[in-house]
């Protein structure tokens, strides 16, 4: 993932390194020029001292010892008067005042010629490489710390950029802390100018979202009433009609089935709307999952008996934090699916209890199951597994979408697995084993 801090630090360190190193390079050049000038001044001083010693009338005299890398000569009308031991016999430079470079003795030399008045000349020379190394070693003393301190500068930049991005982190943390149903505006006192627009836009968005969700909530509750009432009326009319038409009328049977399907679809749609985590405020209490499962299985038992299916409940009391109404809808949906897709005479088992220390609800059937490649898609709204859709099973493909909503609401996890029975599907819901706060 792209990190603003990493990008900023990289660019800033690169810019700092480039500018400071180029400046150091220019500083090095200027310092070397200055050092050269100082060494030239020192050469001039040496030459002037030698001029003072150059009064001897003897000729061709050589002075022993001397300093390494430094030579001199004193000439009188192009005749040698005095020279250092390391100096060549020939003139080391031209008989003309000024600084020059010359090559002798296998080295390059910086030379200076001074006139002592009349025909007398003083010549001094220093090895250029020695001068350069000396000057460079001095100048490098100011360059090397720059290299050594670069990691410290990079660390400082890292810390400072981190401080600079603190308001962004704070804003991000505030948004993360918000509960899923908390659509109140962000409360950020005195935000930096760069975040002002972001906060303002986010608050506007939250406001519009809250209004939209409120409208949807109202629609769900109004639709529940408006849709259920005519369906109930239709059911009554059909019931009355049964006494007026011949018994076993296929038209009446189809009308009854159609009404039942419509009733089921409306209930599913309303459940889907009611269970949306963004829409509802869950009513969490401490509940016993096993007791809840007992109640729901008992309620649905007649429907299973009508198909000669065996329904068994296993497990033990398991307390957890949850919304009882929602969990009942969840289990009802899972049992409805199991009943519909398990052939007559099949077996359905329910487990409600602790498994590995986690409150777990499992509904397993001995039906045809769902191919593993399709298991993720069945949670999509209106999705029905191809092979099952061909069977004579009514349904809108909303049951598992509703289950998914309720699972999300409880911070639980749902998994589709192979049934522990001979064939079929097992839907396993694992709830968090700590108290849920939503």
């Amino acid at each position: 993932m792209k990190s603003i801090r990493r990008s900023l630090v990289t660019m800033l360190v690169a810019a700092f390194t480039l500018v400071s190193f180029v400046a150091a390079l220019n500083g090095y050049r200027a310092s070397m020029d200055k050092a050269e000038a100082l060494l030239d001044a020192q050469l001039q001083y040496s030459a002037e001292i030698l001029v003072g010693l150059g009064g001897s009338e003897s000729r061709g005299q050589t002075l022993g010892g001397g300093v390494e890398g430094f030579v001199f000569q004193i000439w009188d009308a192009e005749h040698p008067v005095l020279r250092s031991a390391a100096a060549p016999e020939l003139p080391i430079t031209a008989f003309e005042e000024g600084y020059r470079y010359a090559n002798f003795g296998g080295f390059r030399w910086r030379t200076l010629t001074v006139s002592m008045g009349g025909q007398r000349w003083g010549m001094v020379a220093e090895r250029a490489d020695v001068r350069h190394t000396l000057a460079e070693s001095v100048v490098l003393e100011s360059v090397i710390p720059l290299l050594l301190w670069l990691p410290v500068a990079a660390l400082l930049i890292w810390v400072l950029v981190g401080w600079g991005l603190a308001p962004l982190r704070e804003l991000s943390a505030q948004i993360n802390r918000k509960a899923s149903d908390d659509l109140a505006p962000l409360d950020y006192a005195d935000p930096p100018a760069e975040l002002h627009q972001v906060i303002s836009s986010t608050n506007g968005l939250l406001l519009r979202l809250a209004a939209a969700l409120q409208r949807e909530k109202h629609f769900a509750s109004h639709a529940a009433h408006e849709l259920r009432t005519p369906i109930s009326a239709l059911k009554i009319h059909l019931h009355n009609l049964e006494s007026e038409v011949p018994a076993g009328s296929s038209a009446l049977q189809h009308a009854n089935e159609g009404i039942e399907r419509m009733h089921h679809l409306v209930e599913q749609l309303l459940d889907l709307a009611r269970t949306q985590p963004e829409l509802i405020t869950a009513n969490f209490h401490t509940i016993d999952l096993h007791t809840l499962a007992q109640r729901v299985t008992a309620e649905l038992w007649p429907a299973f008996e009508a198909r000669q299916q065996s329904l068994s409940l296993q497990g033990e009391p398991a307390t957890m934090q949850g919304d009882e109404t929602m969990l009942a809808i969840l289990l009802r949906n899972l049992l409805d699916n199991a009943r519909k897709y398990t052939p007559a005479g099949g077996e359905i088992t329910v487990f409600a209890g602790d498994r590995d220390g986690t409150p777990t609800l499992e509904v397993a059937d001995s039906g045809p199951g769902i191919p593993s490649g399709e298991r993720q898609r069945v949670f999509e709204r209106f999705y029905r597994v191809g092979a099952r859709a061909g069977e004579d099973v009514s349904g809108a493909g909303l049951g598992l979408a509703i289950t998914q909503h309720i699972v999300q609401l409880h911070g639980a996890q749902v998994q589709l697995a192979d049934s522990p029975l001979d064939s079929g599907l097992a839907v396993v819901v694992r709830f968090p084993n700590t108290a849920v706060s939503v």
Partner: protein, 260 residues
């Protein structure tokens, strides 16, 4: 010694850094990832080690022209690898494996070419005890400037507006590639594999090759203050070829879009 170290290391590092930056920016633009870079680095390390180990053999080969010819070949190789990279990057999605292989090879060639020289130089001069500090300090400074400039070039390419990002990366790569051919011709002229020609112009008074800007332009454009007619012709020819590669890639994308 310090200044020499800066110039030698900067010249080599800058070129490799700008090439890596342009390819990284291009890879980000076409969502290719960075696997090619992580593949290229160990390959380049092996290449540099082999180059340094067989330096004497390489130098003596081809009547003493071995090192220059090998370096010129590596640079020409980088350019030839950049051409299909430009075509594939500008064409439709897919062929990612080819791009990964080509980018890996291009970076490997470039790093072997640049780092082998640095390795040889630093090893030779740092062995002279009295100059070691100057050589290491100069090399560090040159490397720091080169890598920093590369990072900033990457930042500039990434900061380009979406519309200009891909053309910007491709144009930078085309210029680097043509610059490498320019340098290769200079190397071959040095060993008389190409005729030495009188320069068409001398712009050293305007911009010295040794200045920082001169070094940067050398790395990106192959700047030469006194280029001969052959160098200029080859440079322009390479740019034209890169332009054709870009056009070809773009046509491929348009064709793909029409078929879809």
């Amino acid at each position: 010694m310090f200044l020499n170290s800066v110039v030698i290391v900067l010249r080599e590092v800058l070129e490799a850094a700008v090439l890596v930056s342009a390819l990284l920016a291009l890879a980000r633009r076409i969502h290719l990832g960075q696997r090619w870079l992580w593949l290229a680095l160990p390959l380049a390390a092996v290449g540099v080690a082999l180059y340094a180990s067989f330096l004497a053999v390489i130098t003596d080969a081809l009547d003493g022209a071995g090192q220059e010819v090998l370096n010129a070949s590596l640079q020409a190789g980088v350019y030839l690898l950049l051409l299909p990279i430009l075509v594939l990057a500008c064409s439709a999605e897919g062929r990612r494996q080819w791009l990964t292989v080509l980018m890996t090879l291009a970076i490997t060639c470039a790093i072997v070419r640049e780092c082998a020289e640095i390795h040889i130089y630093v090893r030779a001069f740092a062995a002279l005890g009295e100059h070691a500090a100057a050589v290491w300090a100069g090399s560090a400074l040159g490397m720091g400037i080169g890598i920093s400039a590369g990072v900033l070039v990457y930042g500039a390419l990434r900061a380009m507006p979406q519309r200009w990002a891909l053309p910007g990366c491709c144009a930078t790569l085309a210029l680097i590639g043509a610059g490498m051919i320019m340098q290769a011709t200079m190397l071959l002229e040095q060993v008389d594999w190409l005729p030495d020609q009188s320069p068409l112009w001398d712009s050293s008074a305007l911009l010295s090759e040794q200045s920082f800007v001169g070094e940067l332009l050398y790395a990106v454009l192959g700047y030469e203050a006194t280029p001969g007619p052959l160098q200029v012709s080859l440079y322009l020819g390479c740019l034209l070829l890169a332009g054709i590669a870009l056009w070809w890639g773009r046509m491929g994308r348009v064709k793909h879009a029409v078929q879809d």
